[in-house]
């Protein structure tokens, strides 16, 4: 591995917005290229399915094309795989904890305490 101090200095000063845009453009182009390769699809075949000229597909794969969301959606539909994915909230997972002792409503004796310091309340159960 070899690095160049001057290059690393320049890289550290790159505008984060530009860095994100360039990397995203190149990643999207790579993703489309890899999918075409995996599906053994030529650029010509892909162009026909997309209703585009082959030269336009070639330009897409350079990474210098700015895609609209609708185009990315169409590409995903044609290739049957997502091109970009947005992180979604993880599904709620419930954990069930067995309660070995049960305090029935008739048995419980509530003690309600409210802390003056932070306003939190706690309820203590106490058997009669």
């Amino acid at each position: 591995m070899k690095k160049n101090d001057l290059f690393e200095q320049c890289l550290a000063n790159v505008d984060p917005e530009v860095k994100e845009e360039v990397r995203l453009n190149m990643d999207i182009a790579n993703r489309i290229y890899d999918l075409l390769k995996a599906k053994k699809m030529t650029q010509r075949q892909f162009a026909a399915l997309m209703g585009k000229r082959e030269s336009e597909i070639s330009r897409w794969l350079t990474g210098s094309h700015g895609f609209t969301i609708s185009t990315l959606a169409k590409i995903a539909a044609v290739l049957g795989e997502p091109i970009v994915q947005v992180k979604r909230q993880p599904e709620m997972k419930y954990v069930f904890v067995p309660i070995n002792s049960f305090i029935s409503p008739t048995e419980k004796f509530d003690v309600l305490c409210t802390s003056k310091a932070n306003g939190n309340s706690t309820i203590s159960y106490k058997n009669k």
């Binding site: 070899k2 001057l6 200095q9 320049c10 505008d15 845009e21 453009n25 190149m26 350079t62």
Partner: protein
């Protein structure tokens, strides 16, 4: 006279740049020094885009589809960004290189230009012609060595030992 200096190396790619006798730095380093603190935001943005693209190539290799062809193995690094409005009077920043394979890239020089075509800018033309000469030289040596551009080890040895 000069030789190639190894500038950047990863598992995916080796990037060299010509360094001529009498020069303290390689062509690529001269490009970095000349353009890294450009005042105009349009040029700064272009510079940032070029640097980021080279950084990305360290991860992926120098895939042919990334480059804009300029004849033979001579390429330009495109700008992978959009501009809201391009001020033509300010000009565009160009960096030229010689792509020998996915694993070997020669970073040349570049500059800001306001010319419509490369041929109309003598500064850019010098960078391109230098790389074209180097390209022809390397092709001759590869042929004489009875090897090809896909043989990374042989090609790297040629680049490391060639005199410019």
């Amino acid at each position: 006279m000069g030789k190639f200096e190894l500038i950047l190396e990863t598992d995916m790619v080796c990037m060299f740049s010509p360094k001529y006798d009498g020069e303290e730095m390689s062509e690529f380093e001269n490009f970095l020094l000349a353009n890294n603190a450009h005042v105009h935001p349009q040029i700064k943005r272009s510079f940032d885009a070029i640097i980021t693209a080279i950084d990305k190539m360290r991860e992926t290799g120098a895939c042919e589809r990334y480059f804009r062809p300029e004849g033979g193995n001579v390429k330009a690094i495109p700008l992978y960004i959009s501009f809201v409005r391009v001020n033509r009077k300010v000009g565009k920043l160009r960096l030229y290189c010689l792509r020998l394979s996915d694993k070997i890239l020669i970073l040349g020089g570049g500059a800001v230009t306001t010319a419509q075509k490369n041929e109309d800018d003598p500064v850019l033309l010098r960078f391109i012609d230098d790389l074209r000469d180097i390209d022809q030289r390397i092709k001759r040596i590869v042929k004489q060595a009875d090897t090809n551009f896909e043989d990374f080890v042989a090609l790297k040895r040629i680049i490391e030992t060639i005199t410019l």
